[in-house]
């Protein structure tokens, strides 16, 4: 009797197992119980969610060098939009989408920056959210991952070393490229070179001129701008004078781009400890310019009507 009851269940499971589920990012076929895509390591929860809820979210990239502030920016943006629904309201889809917001806010509230994002794609935090506007009925579904800066650098220098990055960026409707203002202010040219590399990588990602990045919107955000008043007053002017290579690149290769300035910490100092070594810590949290680039980007995406899967 017991065997009779188990066999149909097992066969049902086997049948399900035989139906491949495509990864939402790279479209490689996976089994239904896979947690991460076997090809690109993107979480399969995205694909399951898209299938079960019959939604096809657009993808948005937040990219930039290591320690430029991607995690802080994204976590802060999510928290601000979910707390204050004045311009638009963000609703996280799935518990996994709240992890980034939770860890970032917990760190900032105790005057610390969150830990560095691991290079392994299966340890990245992914955000699937719904954006609602006050006067619009149809919300926009978005997927935004918090990618590691070092992984991005590796992929840019050695293409195909991180398949997830190229697959994801090919499908993105737009991107936010973060640039470290403090390093630019200090005269560190590495920041300019790396950002140029990223921009160049994006521009050459697609062979199809209709899908090329030259028409997709690109928001260039100077992070940590609280440390530089000139940058806050005139972000494009600051880009032209301090990151001329990047500025020229954008003028030539991206039809829809805009420079912004953003900051999260009111003031920062260094703290040395046995456990963590020398780390920069914020003395207070006073976000500014966080929502504006995101709003601009979504308006451009809506106007273009691109990025739908």
């Amino acid at each position: 009797m017991t065997r009779d009851a188990i066999l149909p269940l097992e066969s049902y499971r086997l049948m399900q197992y035989a139906v491949p589920i495509p990864c939402y990012v790279c479209e490689a076929e996976n089994t239904y119980d896979a947690e991460y895509c076997r090809n690109c390591l993107a979480p399969m929860a995205l694909a399951h969610q898209a299938n079960s809820q019959k939604v096809h979210p657009r993808m948005l990239a937040v990219i930039g060098g290591s320690a430029v502030g991607k995690t802080v920016y994204l976590g802060m943006l999510m928290d601000m939009l979910s707390r204050n629904p004045e311009k638009m309201h963000l609703l996280a889809r799935g518990a996994f989408s709240i992890t980034l917001q939770q860890t970032t806010m917990a760190a900032l509230a105790r005057c610390a920056f969150p830990e560095k994002t691991a290079n392994e794609p299966d340890r990245w935090n992914w955000v699937h959210c719904q954006i609602r506007w006050p006067k619009q009925r149809v919300p926009m579904e978005l997927i935004v991952p918090d990618m590691a800066g070092e992984a991005l650098l590796e992929e840019v220098n050695h293409p195909h070393s991180y398949r997830i990055i190229s697959s994801f960026l090919k499908k993105c409707a737009g991107a936010m490229l973060l640039i470290d203002t403090v390093k630019l202010k200090e005269g560190n040219r590495d920041q300019d070179y790396f950002t140029m590399k990223l921009v160049s990588y994006l521009a050459e990602l697609s062979d199809d001129p209709k899908k090329s990045w030259s028409r997709r919107p690109l928001a260039l955000v100077f992070t940590k701008a609280d440390q530089c008043e000139d940058c806050v007053l005139d972000p494009p002017g600051y880009a032209e004078s301090h990151a001329s290579g990047l500025w020229q690149h954008c003028q030539e290769r991206f039809a829809v781009h805009q420079f912004f300035a953003a900051g999260v910490a009111g003031s920062c100092v260094w703290r040395e400890s046995r456990a963590h070594g020398r780390v920069r810590v914020p003395l207070r949290i006073e976000p500014f310019g966080i929502v504006e680039p995101f709003v601009w980007l979504l308006e451009q995406i809506k106007a273009q009507g691109t990025g739908r899967k």
Binding site: L108, R110, S267, V269, R271, R284, I285, E286, F288
Partner: protein
């Protein structure tokens, strides 16, 4: 270039149309009629398109929201007082009362020169503008953040519990110093009075200018504030400018202990136990009582707003609106094995501002720091004065004795 081309085409089409119409009467032939018809069609098409465009432009103008240009009215300097004859003590005293320098007039060294009416007016101004905070003990440096205390060592716990500091009776400004009040200082030449400034900072005073290069807070223009910001707290001033203003009015910046005492209003329930508030109004954050991120205004507001957040002693906006410079240095609590590497001398700021995001960074206990010469858009200040530094009652023989003054520099009767 494009416009020129279009005009030439228009003229040509007009000419051809006229010629063909005139010739058409004489020679009715298709070769004459065809160019004329084309030219007329071009002209008609042009005027129809132009008409549509101008209609759309008008509609666009109607649809566009009426954007009111930001008010950039700069106040002329009528608030600058007329020069007073230094020999005329009575006029000098009147001028100082009008400038809000009543605390300086009540200093033991000066109070004797005041007649009874002037003395009473100075005392009344003090009572109106400042709140009396009683003496007592206050806990400073207590960490409010929830942590697993089982994981902390005894040393960590001791640091997190803070330290007890005793403060004497003092008066604290009920409101942060406003643009209008600070303008009195600027107009009276406060930036040029060497005695008000610390000698080490004198070379930097030349750099304390507004957006037009005149002495004044960083956010001002042409030596004055925007008209609608008259009663907003003054911001864009360094710690040194705040200290100089405080000296000019006969006060000083409050110490950290004094600031926390006025905000937390500790009450001793037994010799070892005390109850100290987390926020001036109680234990729970209420964004309707303080101007913080998410409260609504998104900028500074008048110092009299958010009256529900007033402290027990009647002090407004201790939490929210603008951070406030205090007299002390920024000394973060160092846990064992930790060392803070401060790049420059940092001064303590307290209270949070309109853009402070987290509740736990806008408590009475929370301390942040900023370099002393920073002139930030969200840092202002208020002043304090020890009760022992003032003469508040007169005896038959003259002013009552006051205790030794701890204010570093004493300023005499100056215009």
């Amino acid at each position: 270039m494009r416009v020129m081309k279009q005009r030439v085409l228009l003229w040509a089409a007009g000419l051809v149309a006229m010629l063909c119409v005139s010739l058409g009467w004489l020679v009715p032939h298709p070769l004459v009629a065809l160019p004329g018809a084309v030219a007329i069609a071009y002209l008609l098409g042009y005027f129809v398109v132009q008409g549509r465009r101008s209609g759309e432009a008008r509609a666009g103008l109607r649809a566009a929201p009426a954007v009111k240009p930001p008010e950039l009215r700069i106040l002329p300097p009528p608030e600058a007082r007329k020069p007073v004859d230094p020999a005329d003590t009575g006029a000098l005293i009147e001028n100082m009362l009008a400038q809000g320098r009543y605390a300086l007039l009540l200093r033991p060294q000066i109070a004797a020169r005041l007649n009874e009416e002037q003395f009473q007016r100075a005392v009344a101004a003090l009572e109106d503008e400042m709140a009396l905070v009683p003496d007592g003990e206050v806990v400073l440096g207590q960490c409010d953040d929830p942590v697993d205390e089982n994981q902390l060592t005894e040393e960590d716990l001791a640091i997190r519990q803070g330290r007890v500091v005793r403060v004497e009776h003092f008066f604290l400004d009920r409101y942060p110093v406003t643009n209008r009040q600070f303008h009195e200082f600027v107009a009276a030449g406060g930036y040029q009075q060497v005695a008000l400034w610390e000698p080490s900072i004198l070379p930097a005073v030349l750099d304390f200018v507004d957006q037009t290069g005149l002495p004044g807070p960083r956010t001002w223009k042409k030596g004055c504030y925007e008209a609608h910001l008259r009663d907003h707290p003054v911001v864009g001033v360094s710690w040194y400018e705040a200290s100089a203003y405080a000296r000019w009015v006969g006060k000083r910046l409050p110490t950290d202990a004094e600031w926390v005492k006025a905000a937390g209003w500790p009450v001793n329930t037994s010799p070892t136990m005390r109850v100290q508030r987390r926020y001036p109004w109680g234990e729970t954050m209420d964004r309707a009582r303080a101007n913080l991120w998410g409260s609504g205004p998104k900028g500074t507001v008048s110092v009299t707003e958010f009256a529900d957040g007033v402290s027990v002693g009647g002090v407004y906006q201790l939490v929210g609106n603008v951070w406030e410079w205090t007299r002390g240095n920024f000394v973060p609590p160092e846990l064992p094995g930790e060392k803070w590497l401060l790049e420059a001398s940092m001064k303590s700021i307290r209270g949070g501002a309109f853009d402070t995001y987290f509740d736990n960074q806008a408590t009475c206990q929370f301390q942040s720091g900023e370099t002393a010469i920073a002139r930030k858009h969200n840092i202002g200040f208020r002043c304090a004065v020890g009760i022992c530094d003032l003469v508040l009652a007169r005896t038959a023989d003259g002013p009552a004795d006051a205790a030794e003054d701890d204010t570093p520099t004493e300023v005499g009767l100056e215009v």
